[in-house]
């Protein structure tokens, strides 16, 4: 403060020191940034590999892992082929809105099928495994496919009704395989035949691929309702169109 030149030279020395320090620190900082970026990159690659490895979507399904009595690869059409109207449904057995839809229109749809007024193209999917602690969504669809495979479309439809009537709450533990077997038997399947299929979750890979097919069909949620190929914009208009078709 007192001596101006002393103050100045001190400032100059300080600046030189700072510049030298800056050079060293710049090199050091670059190394630190490089190390952090490299570490993050390695972690990221490992995580992405874990993600893609744990996703079996599209993996080949063995012959034994493919349900029988399907109409196409991932759907089953129920009803007389002469029925004038085709209803196409994408449903998840864990989906509460599907349950509401089935409660409002399920009975009439089944009457419509029996009367030959409609045929229903069921595209069952399972994307709500995270809604239960036991992957109920995919296990219940596996059970439905076990019923379809061993007891045919009518039994599948009965199982479908039972499953929606008894749908476990979202976030619950779902229902155990033994209950799924009970429902399957109630629907008309042979216990000895369906038990190993349900306990072994044998159609799981098919279920995964069926769910992926929904997305490739540009359907992103359930229930999605088509009447004669026309996608209804929401569930309420879907209910209306379906009830109109079965009238």
């Amino acid at each position: 403060m007192a001596n101006k030149s002393r103050q100045q030279s001190k400032t100059e020395r300080a600046q030189a020191l700072v510049r030298e320090q800056q050079r060293r620190e710049r090199t050091r900082n670059l190394l630190v940034v490089g190390a952090v970026v490299a570490a993050v990159a390695i972690i990221a690659v490992v995580m992405v590999v874990v993600q893609s490895k744990s996703d079996t979507t599209g993996d080949e399904v063995s012959a034994g892992g493919t349900p029988s009595n399907l109409t196409g690869s991932y759907n089953v059409v129920i009803g007389k082929s002469s029925a004038p109207t085709t209803i196409k449904l994408y449903e998840d057995l864990q989906c509460p809105v599907c349950r509401s839809f089935e409660q409002v229109a399920g009975q009439q749809i089944q009457t419509g099928i029996a009367d030959g007024k409609v045929k229903v193209d069921y595209h069952m999917v399972a994307f709500l495994d995270h809604s239960s602690t036991t992957n109920y969504s995919s296990r219940s669809l596996n059970a439905a496919m076990a019923v379809l495979s061993t007891a045919g479309p009518d039994a599948f439809l009965k199982f479908h009704t039972i499953a929606y009537d008894n749908q476990p709450a979202e976030g619950s533990a779902g229902v155990p395989d033994s209950t799924l077997v009970d429902w399957a038997v109630q629907a008309g399947a042979d216990e000895g035949e369906v038990s190993p299929l349900i306990d072994g979750n044998v159609y799981h890979q098919w279920v995964v691929n069926a769910t992926d097919q929904m997305s490739k069909d540009k359907v992103s949620g359930t229930p999605t309702i088509f009447v004669d190929g026309k996608k209804l914009p929401d569930v309420q208009s879907g209910v209306n169109a379906v009830l109109e078709a079965v009238k």
Binding site: M47, F127, S131, D212
Partner: protein, 166 residues
């Protein structure tokens, strides 16, 4: 004051990103379907994008919470929020019914129009937080302050001389 706002911005974006990434991580197949639902990317890259998203969210979120390479990760975050806003806006404009799936997927939302507006508003807010951090990356309680101590002092002009005089 700016450093405190920066801290808040870091934590907001960081916590949202980590929560979103953690919710997505267990369901890689679902993430791929979510990406596909936007109908913007070619099918060839849809799976890899779906598989990478949760990782990117976890890493960007984690880095921002820690305050590590804040500016760089804020830039990455900002780019992603711009992409999300464009994606949601495009889906909205084309009338696609998608649930953003940001926090794990569920069914189609009850009121998609409202959901789109909410999602875009949220992403705009998060984008603003990221841009703040791009402009003012120095924040309180950041790992950057420990890892790059000199840079901090340089930025605070007065502190440089005071350090030398000590």
């Amino acid at each position: 004051m700016k450093q405190w706002i920066g801290l808040a911005a870091r934590l907001i974006v960081g916590i949202v990103d980590v929560a979103a990434g953690a919710a997505k991580f267990p369901d890689p197949a679902g993430n791929v379907r979510q990406v596909r639902a936007f109908q913007l990317l070619p099918e060839a890259v849809v799976p890899i994008v779906g598989h990478s998203l949760p990782t990117i969210e976890l890493i960007v979120g984690g880095a921002l919470i820690l305050g590590l390479l804040t500016r760089a990760f804020a830039i990455v975050g900002a780019l992603f929020f711009v992409a999300f806003i464009l994606g949601i806006g495009a889906a909205w404009a084309r009338g696609l019914e998608i649930n953003c799936g940001c926090f794990g997927s569920s069914g189609v939302p009850a009121d998609p129009q409202r959901q789109y507006a909410i999602d875009i508003a949220r992403d705009v807010g998060l984008l603003i937080c990221c841009l703040w951090l791009v402009v003012w990356p120095r924040t309180r309680f950041a790992l950057d302050n420990l890892v790059f101590p000199h840079q901090e002092r340089l930025a605070d002009g007065e502190q440089v001389t005071s350090t030398v005089e000590n």
